[in-house]
């Protein structure tokens, strides 16, 4: 039972991070390898707002989340916007460079020590009991948040005016422009949403188990989840996250704890060999890049 709970928690983490990869990729064909670092930045922003709004945990959380949205927007407007239309590899490397920059900045601004935002905010993290398994409060919140985010995104993309426009821009940017859609607005929206969901993941993880500068590693591990499901499919990200999380938890438990960092990539390689476009991705994706 505990294993099951662990799998659900890990899958929620991976899924919440993976939807960020999918959002940006689906809309602009760019793989945002700085997602892990942006996620970490969100958590560090919580530290900053915690000291700003000390005593008002809810306000601090809200402010951190809002700031992350703005960060995503700024990253697009000032950096990624210039790379639209360039080679895909150049855009990806730009995100890699951005990630490296953020890592350096975070250490410079906040030092490399482990931080405890939960303590800074003054919120507890008790262990809840479900059946004969334990789950910490913030992990449970994360699972619920993940469900809410996915539900919201599904509805938005399916029925929202801008959601449909995002899907359209992802399918055929030229046609979308011919229909009057401002592509830059769509891309900026995608980046903002992606950074928002990533920051939520980072914040909740930091509240649960502390914050270190190696948080981006988890971001990178969530990437195979997105790819296994299909880089342009939100539903796929959910399924992929479950698969990768299940594989990781089970293999750590039954085989070797050291495997934890490499299991997602083993699953990734297996998927690339068998079905590169993922479980729910569109096949043409391969030829586009």
């Amino acid at each position: 039972m505990q294993l099951f709970v662990n799998i659900i928690v890990l899958a929620s983490i991976y899924a919440l991070i993976a939807c960020g990869y999918v959002m940006i990729y689906r809309v602009s064909r760019v793989l945002n390898l700085a997602h892990g670092e942006l996620m970490m930045l969100g958590a560090y922003l919580l530290l900053a707002t915690a000291s700003l709004f000390s005593g008002h945990a809810a306000m601090a959380l809200g402010a951190a989340v809002a700031l992350s949205l703005v960060v995503g927007l700024l990253v697009y407007v000032f950096l990624m916007r210039k790379m639209t239309g360039e080679m895909v590899l150049a855009a990806i490397l730009t995100t890699v460079a951005l990630g490296i920059l953020i890592r350096g900045l975070v250490v410079l601004l906040w030092s490399a020590q482990q931080q405890y935002p939960a303590q800074a905010l003054g919120v507890p993290n008790p262990s809840l009991v479900i059946g004969n398994a334990r789950i910490s409060l913030w992990s449970a919140v994360l699972v619920l948040t993940n469900a809410a985010v996915y539900g919201g995104l599904f509805v938005f993309l399916r029925f929202g005016r801008w959601g449909i426009r995002m899907r359209a821009a992802g399918q055929n940017p030229l046609l979308a422009a011919q229909r009057g859609i401002k592509l830059h607005s769509v891309y900026a929206l995608a980046w903002s949403l992606s950074t928002l969901t990533g920051a939520l993941a980072g914040i909740l993880m930091a509240l649960d188990s502390g914050l270190t500068t190696s948080l981006p590693v988890i971001g990178l591990k969530a990437f195979p989840a997105a790819l296994v499901g299909g880089l342009d499919s939100l539903a796929g990200a959910l399924v992929g996250a479950l698969i990768v999380a299940a594989a990781e938890v089970l293999l750590i438990y039954y085989v070797d704890p050291l495997l934890s960092d490499v299991v997602p990539f083993l699953v990734l390689i297996a998927m690339l060999i068998v079905r590169p476009w993922g479980l729910f991705g569109t096949r043409e994706e391969l030829d586009r890049v």
Partner: protein, 267 residues
Amino acid sequence: MSEPLLQVDKIEVVYKRVITAVQGVTLTVAKRRIVALLGTNGAGKTTMLRAISGFLGIDDARVTEGTISFEGSRIENLPPHDITGRGVALVPEREKVFPNLTVAENLSVSVARAATGAERRHDEDRIYYFFPRLAELRQRVGGLLSGGERQMMAIAAALMCRPTLLLIDELSLGLAPVVVEDLTRRLMTVRDEMGIAILLVEQSAAVALEIADYAYVMENGRVVLDGDRERLKSHQDVQEFYLGQAGGERRSYRDVKQYRRSRRWYG
């Protein structure tokens, strides 16, 4: 006569700074008129449409000389969404619908200028009135439409942008004559009831001259002939080279090794 809707004045379009695709072309589209742009492959017709709608940048091309004016203001080399926002909508030749969106979603994607929710719904109803077939196919995914349905869908989606000028690239390409006839009839209804002007690029002169009020013939990047429908239909060169009527007797291929008569457009 009031000032024309679209005035293209001696423009020159250059690709990659070295290839001149269009030279010294002047054309006018008046309000509520259907104007056709005829010519064979490579004449520069699609380039003209791209220049007007603002989509030249993708192929590294620019309008290097001359002006394009729409409703009095200059629009050459403006960004595409700016031009669409002023009321020019383009129906492209290829990839005209979003394959993974339904017909209804395809229609809702178009950005309509200054339209409230109620106005949009009214627009949609009007579209379904012009194209009843689309109403039946509301939930059909775009990629599964037939050629004719796709063209209807594309025109409908362009109309949802509330344009004053509709640009259509290759209306009849790949469509059965029956379908084309149906489409042209509907286009004229749309023009009459919505009051829009249409600039139509067509390879098939016969189709174009059925509905156009005025036409230009382009060749190698220049306009070589223009006139209203009657003038073009009766022009010998158009008849021989575009309408396939060799002026009388049938000739066997043995006699026609190359064009016996060179094209004398200025006559």
